[in-house]
Subunit: 207 residues, 2 copies
DNA sequence: TAATAAATAGAACAGTGTTCAAAATCATTT
DNA sequence: AAATGATTTTGAACACTGTTCTATTTATTA
């Protein structure tokens, strides 16, 4: 009986359709303008139908965030295996992370600022022990450990460094997104300066 | 005729009352739960009355933000005139800035993340030339200039440094606010680490 | 084809910001 | 003090929002 499977496939397709439409709205009108009714009208179904495929609006958001989040982590991983020099790795990771985030400003904002508990459990990185539970921090720590100066540094210190790198980079990105009208050359200068700052901070480090 | 003056005073009082109540709601329930109707009910007037004293909800927010913003700038100024050593100044300014922000998390979030154009014109700091138009950046630049190593550094470079310091500190604060449940010792470690990072970045700087 | 299960729609509830015309209050002048 | 005019306040309404519930339609199974 392939009918059940077809049904399951149809449900998945419908869910995908909803997510796609939601993403379209976010990209064209911004996340604030996303509404269940707007999704329904664009999909030409009644609003209540949405609730057959998703528990509530938050669950839709959650799925979208998950998608974007995986994209970001995937990027980090690909950079991690690409280069040799650990310092260069951190440079490149930070740089491409920033560029990717700027390419999907609305999604990045949502992922990082939406404090829904579910999403937060993926994106929180500042707690004690994050290096063992968050891929992004783990990858950063791994890179830091490969730097000579950190050979004899305790793990907690490395974790803190990674957390600061992450949180500060986050800050620069969010402000570049929020403060609209910054031209590209200025953006590039800021990014360059920030990466230099990180490098200096790393080099200088003394246990 | 002191009646007109009394009237003006009464209007001011009413406006103040609305703002106070709004702040109370924000502090107790969070900014998301603030609504015109809730203000009205707490003040025991009809919702439509609010619109006699404020153009719309955004204007109320704007006033609240302005208030908090002034508090922050005031703090920066007081630290600026307090200490001697410029490096110490930056340390202290950053530190007390972070502590103040953490004491008013909801307000800080609103000021910095609410992208209403009016508020943005006070809080945007990343554009080219911000050091002449934004007090926070200006103060930071002034401190940087007093550091020996920066004596021969061009203004644009100093501005970028100030902007990065600002944006990264912002990032750390926002994440400490958003990621609830981080205990105080961890918070202090992060803050300490961040300030150290800034210091290292500043020292290391070579034109 | 009849019974059963799933998908879809429509109406409704409670909430939001906002507007507008009417009512109530107050101030001033006659 | 009464009437006029300005100001303050309200109540109802509009257009939205997320969400739930009960029908109704559609598809699957026996």
């Amino acid at each position: 009986m392939g009918i059940k499977e077809r049904k399951a496939r149809e449900i998945d397709q419908r869910r995908e359709l909803i997510l796609t439409v939601a993403e379209e709205i976010i990209n064209s009108e911004g996340i604030d303008k996303l509404s269940v009714r707007k999704i329904a009208s664009k999909i030409e179904y009644s609003p209540s139908l949405i609730y057959h495929y998703f528990k509530d609006k938050d669950e839709i958001l959650k799925h979208l965030m998950e998608k974007s989040y995986k994209k970001i982590v995937g990027l980090l991983k690909s950079v991690q295996t690409s280069t040799e020099d650990p310092k260069d790795k951190i440079r490149k990771m930070t740089h491409s992370y920033i560029l990717l985030a700027l390419q999907m400003p609305e999604q990045y904002k949502s992922i990082m600022l939406n404090s829904s508990a579910d999403i937060l459990s993926h994106t929180s990185v500042l707690f004690d022990g994050a290096s063992t539970k968050r891929q992004a921090v783990a990858i950063l720590c791994q890179c830091l450990k490969q730097i000579d100066k950190y050979k004899n540094t305790d793990d907690k210190h490395i974790e803190l460094t990674a957390q600061i790198i992450w949180a500060t980079t986050f800050g620069l990105i969010i402000r570049m997104i929020i403060e609209n009208g910054i031209d590209d050359t200025q953006k590039n200068l800021l990014i360059q300066h920030h990466i230099q700052f990180i490098e200096d901070g790393i080099i200088q480090k003394k246990t």
